[in-house]
């Protein structure tokens, strides 16, 4: 491990710095020039950051307030990719608004783009944070811009209500999370994660007492803080109202980027308890954390997916339906977290994990990526669609346009907008987990990792995870009902509405990009899966077992040679 000094820290933060500079440029440009191309600048900034993060990926093993390991590298790459996709959709959203209010020119584009850049920077920071304070800062840099975006995007009453609700509830969640952080600080006596991890795993009597007192609070409160960001029970209530009340672009943001934050927090917490050395002796506090984390995560997972799916069954509003479905997907992600904690616990007490690595983390990250791409694809398509209006003739006055927001609005879409219809159908089928689409591989890897827990024999824990896997599969079946209802509307109903797609080019490009990614992950899921598994292994302790520096992003697998060359002259302090 190389402690990062200040200059290297700045070098490591290049992607985030680029994002912040782009944000400042957008803010300033917006003030002076009414920059309508704010989203283009934002997109350029994100792509530049993505480029830097990919090509100039620093070698792993840097540690300090920031850590660059396989995990943070992969997550940062994922965040920037999703950020770029959402920015495309948001750009379309802006154009849509401009069209919607012809009378009143759309002014706030620049601020939106700037705020969004800050959000991405915050999330990216959370991915590389190795310090609780930095982690919390990063997370807040996600929450606050999200609330602002919700308020900015839609100026009607519903939009304001959504923004306000999200803001207040995120405050509650952040305070809960902060209490959890405080408890961790109480155990570790430091805000450095490495120190906290070492203290968690140490077997000193003092630690044991403090751990016994604080571990339930720390684990529970941090889980609660993550649950809000994942939109998981019991902090999921905001999702349907907020999604419905905002634009599809914002819904795309809400359903993906905060979930990444939640996964970061939970995998980091599990990683602290599991420690860097597989099979090393583990202290009481660490095992207690894991043994509390898995049942709690499993219960939240089961409840979240069930609540989300049964709520979605009766919905007619598309964004509300997808909000409910995103609650369910948060439940699926928590299955991976629960499996991670349980596998880590058995690895700590009973030797090495099966296969040498803990599969839960990789499965979670893989599922997250496949879910996010498909979800953004659906929202991008809805944004691109914008409005559909009834067919009119010259003799009849043109009827008012309606925003495509309910399932009925998609009736007969396959006839009028075949490509949009196809994109929505493919993304929804992937979300439903129909093979061979990526959502299927994701669910498969989650179920596999859940069934790996205590695979040798029959323990109560194994029974619990088998039950969890069965719950997941049943829920996938329930979910298929409402996804297929939408697809049926698109393909099997007829409509009197005409072709309309006033959501802008950006959203169309975003939709196609998501479709291409879904296709790519369908024919070649292996690349993403391998990268996700490596990342999951890195956060959960495979770090020290892997001799060679692991690559931080799937794309950089191409640049192996370059990275190796860059890694060689890395200054190493004693």
């Amino acid at each position: 491990m190389t402690p990062a000094t200040s200059p290297t820290t700045f070098a490591l933060l290049t992607p985030e710095i680029i994002l912040v500079i782009a944000a400042l440029a957008v803010f300033l440009g917006g003030a002076f020039a009414g920059l309508r191309a704010g989203w283009l600048v934002a997109l350029g900034g994100i792509v530049a950051a993505l480029f830097v993060a990919t090509v100039a990926a620093p070698a792993d093993g840097v540690s300090g307030p920031l850590t660059i390991d396989g995990f943070s590298g992969f997550v940062r790459w994922l965040v920037l990719l999703l950020g770029a996709l959402v920015a495309l959709v948001q750009a379309g959203d802006g154009f849509r608004r401009a069209v919607l209010r012809e009378a009143q020119p759309y002014q706030s584009t620049a601020e939106e783009a700037g705020v969004f850049l800050l959000l991405v920077a915050g999330l990216s920071l959370a991915a590389v944070a190795n310090d609780l304070v930095l982690l919390f800062t990063g997370l807040e840099l996600v929450s606050i811009p999200t609330a602002i975006l919700l308020g900015l995007k839609r100026t009607d009453a519903a939009g304001q209500e959504a923004g306000l609700k999200y803001f207040f509830l995120s405050l509650v969640a952040s305070s809960l999370f902060l209490y959890g952080v405080v408890c961790l600080y109480g155990i570790g006596g430091s805000t450095e994660m490495a120190t906290i991890g070492a203290r968690l795993r140490s077997a000193e009597p003092g630690t044991v007492v403090i751990g016994a007192a604080l571990v339930p609070l720390a684990a529970g409160l941090i889980l609660a803080g993550a649950a809000f960001r994942l939109a998981a029970f019991p902090l999921h209530f905001y999702a349907p109202d907020v999604y419905q009340g905002t634009s599809p672009g914002n819904a795309a943001l809400l359903s993906t980027l905060p979930k990444v934050a939640g996964v970061i927090v939970l995998l980091r917490l599990a990683g602290l308890a599991i420690g860097p050395v597989a099979g090393a002796p583990v202290g009481y506090a660490a095992t207690a954390t894991l043994d509390l984390l898995w049942p709690a995560a499993a219960v939240l997972a089961a409840v979240s997916m069930t609540i989300g799916n049964v709520m979605a069954l009766g919905q007619t509003n598309l964004r509300r339906l997808l909000a409910c479905s995103s609650i369910a997907h948060a439940g699926y992600l928590l299955v991976g977290i629960a499996a991670t904690a349980a596998l880590g616990s058995s690895a700590a007490t009973g030797g090495a994990a099966p296969g040498g690595a803990i599969s839960g983390g990789g499965a979670t990250l893989f599922y997250l990526a496949t879910y996010a791409v498909a979800t953004i694809g659906v929202f991008a398509a809805l944004t691109y669609l914008g409005h559909r209006w009834p067919v009119w003739s010259a003799t009849v006055p043109r009827p008012p346009r309606e925003e495509a927001s309910t399932i009925a609005d998609l009736d007969g879409l396959s006839a009028t907008n075949p490509i949009v219809a196809f994109a929505i159908a493919v993304c929804l089928l992937s979300l439903a987990g129909i093979p061979p689409l990526p959502g299927f591989w994701g669910k498969l890897s989650l179920v596999t990792s859940a069934l790996e827990v205590d695979a040798g024999g029959w323990s109560p824990r194994r029974l619990a995870f088998v039950a969890l896997a069965v719950t997941l599969v049943i829920n996938a079946a329930i979910a298929a009902a409402y996804y297929l209802r939408i697809i049926a509307a698109i393909y099997f109903r007829s409509t009197d509405r005409g072709v309309q797609s006033d959501g802008g080019v950006g959203a169309g490009v975003g939709m196609i990009a998501c479709l291409v990614l879904v296709g790519l992950f369908t024919i070649h899921p292996q690349g993403l899966f391998r990268a996700a598994r490596r990342a999951g292994g890195a956060v959960l302790g495979a770090r020290s077992t892997a001799g060679a520096p692991t690559l931080s992003s799937p794309v950089s697998a191409v640049a192996t040679v370059a990275v190796d060359a860059a890694a060689a002259p890395e200054p190493r302090l004693p």
Binding site: L169, P240, A296, L300, G355
Partner: protein, 779 residues
Amino acid sequence: MRSLLLVLVPLLPLLAGLVTVFAGRRLGPRVHLPAVVGIGAAAIAALLLLFTAGGASGTGHGTAAPVEHTVELWRWATIDGALTPADGSAPRPLSLGVTLRLDPLTATLLVVITSIGLLVAVYSIGYMHDDPDQPRFFALVSMFVFSMAMLVASSSFLLVYVFWEAVGACSYLLIGFWYRRPEAARAAKKAFLVNRVGDFGLAIAVFLLWLTYGTLDFHDTRLADGTLVPGILGAARLADPTAIVGGAIGTAICLLLLLAACGKSAQVPLHVWLPDAMEGPTPASALIHAATMVTAGVYLVTRCAPLFVAAPGALAVVALVGATTALVAGLIGTVQTDLKRVLAYSTISQLGYMFAALGTGTLGGFTAGIFHLVTHACFKALLFLGAGSVMHAMGGVIDMRRFGGLRTVMPVTAATFLVGALALAGVFPFAGFFSKDEILAALHSRGWPDAHASGHHDESPAAATPPAVRVATWDRRAAPPLIPVASGSAASHRAVAVSASGGAAADGPLDWLAGPRLYRTLFWMSLFTAGLTAFYTFRAVFMTFTGPLRLPPEAHGHGAHGHSPHGHDDHGPSHGGHGGHGATGHEPAGGHGAAASHESPPVMTRPLVILAVASALAGVVLFIGHGLARFLAATPSLAAANVAATAVPPVFHWDLAIQGTLAAAIGIALAAIGHYGRRSDGPSVERFLGPLQTLFARRFYFDEIEHAAVVRPLEWLAAVAATVDRVVIDGLVRSVAHVPVALGGVVRRFQGGVLQRYSVAGVVGVLGMLVALAWNLWL
């Protein structure tokens, strides 16, 4: 270079298909270009591959070092620990690679698929000229060529399954191409459903193979950690006959594979879909339902030859099914009056021939099966395209009783059709003669093993001492004067026969079937079928092209443009109005411009001429020096130890050739007596069959029997199930389905939209969780 070519062969038709799908309408009258260019380039690539696929064989007696070249395009997915082997070794991943392979078998079939595909595509330019749905047609043909090329080039059972379904889908869509016509829609549905039975067998076979062998790849693969996983048909396994699972499991796998092959290759009892499949456009029938797709079953069995040889019982079933199909379909074919249906039954019959050859389980049998596949692809495509040409000129009429004497108006079609018929009937020196002879020889060698080992055709049981070798040879240079080799292979040949007849190693549940007696019966059946083939083929030739010239009214001008080819009795004035607008989705008819029937345009007749040349020469070219057999022998599946052990020196069996030719001559003579120069709607020679004629005409009542034995009970069961479902299950399910909905109602009640309640509920939930955690840890 080789890898690139191998990838290009499927890729180019795929690209052509995609271009046609996305830009088809924009191409206007040149919509055929992508398909013709793409498939043509693929054909060139396939021809080049042919020269690189050969082995360094030439040792003369059919055994050769296996030649295999695999290209892994990408690894689709790896699922760790998917299989825990029963022997307690480390769990294995399910590794799904997308790998193409090149070996002589694949190369041969790629050439057949792409070259016939090209000729059919060119022919279709003329044939589909008037059809408004040309883009769909050419897209489907391209996609079919892609799928079929992938099917034979895939190196894994999973991919074979995928493309097995893909060619089935293309076939379904092409049979139902004129989907507005109820017969076409019904035929497509029938083909789909019958094939489902076979596909089900393939799926179960793939599962069993995975459980038995722990891999689905044909070739040997390496895991990430460097351990070698021997592929099911990999070099490591094929060198060692004991590594191939026989017995009950092996027999079950082979029978399931056979079920799959029966579906796709239209073997009894799953043959009923193929005659109805003639509702599709004739070029599609020629390509898919005569030359290529229907031979997928032959390919599958040949590819799995080592597995089948390890399960002699299953092999016997293959031979039995094949010979039975050949005979039954041949009998049905003798009384059909629809030209395309005669050809359809002939296809079924010839496929049965191929299966009979494969069922011998000898190297000679497998190569004979593929040899016949190749020659059959040439002459059957020719016959179908010729029938299409007739249909084109007759205004969509294909009932042979309604026209006759066409040789004067359609000289090219008549001449090429005659060549195809001679090849099909197996007349020397046309293609079918040689391949049919090989098949008869393979059957004969199993029926009279000692005769073949010794050269005497006596039926005495095996002599204890190694017999002297005296082989009759047709080509001295090709026949090996190697007595030790010959006697060795004769001995090993007998070993196979012994094991097959229930001796040494046989332990499969059906192995008692595989005795010489069975193969003797099958040989006589096949010989009789050869005569039948000649009869029905020339019956069709004479009915169509000889006798007084008669034309159906549809053939004259525009009057009947768009007639249903099978609706021959209802051509009333009501149909007259259809003329001119081709958008009705009917079989394209002649009469665009010409007032009377005429020879088809050159774009249609040239492919006929090329195919006629191929049909005339393919047999002798591929037979000289047993070129094809030697080439194929380097295929890993056929160079496997247990298959190569069955090799016998290549010889030309004069006696069998004479018997086969006699059978053909008798068939042709009977057809000539009955039909040459007569009105095709007059009394026919078949009336002497008496009640049998009805039996054949009703196709042995297969459809009725299957309807009564399968469809009706299923419908009955479905009705019962539907009632139970409605009354019992539905009530139950509805109440269960109400649970999520009702639960949703309850949950939604919490979504009141009031912020304070949300926060309170959230905090209460978190507190509850904390209490539970603390309880868990502290108490």
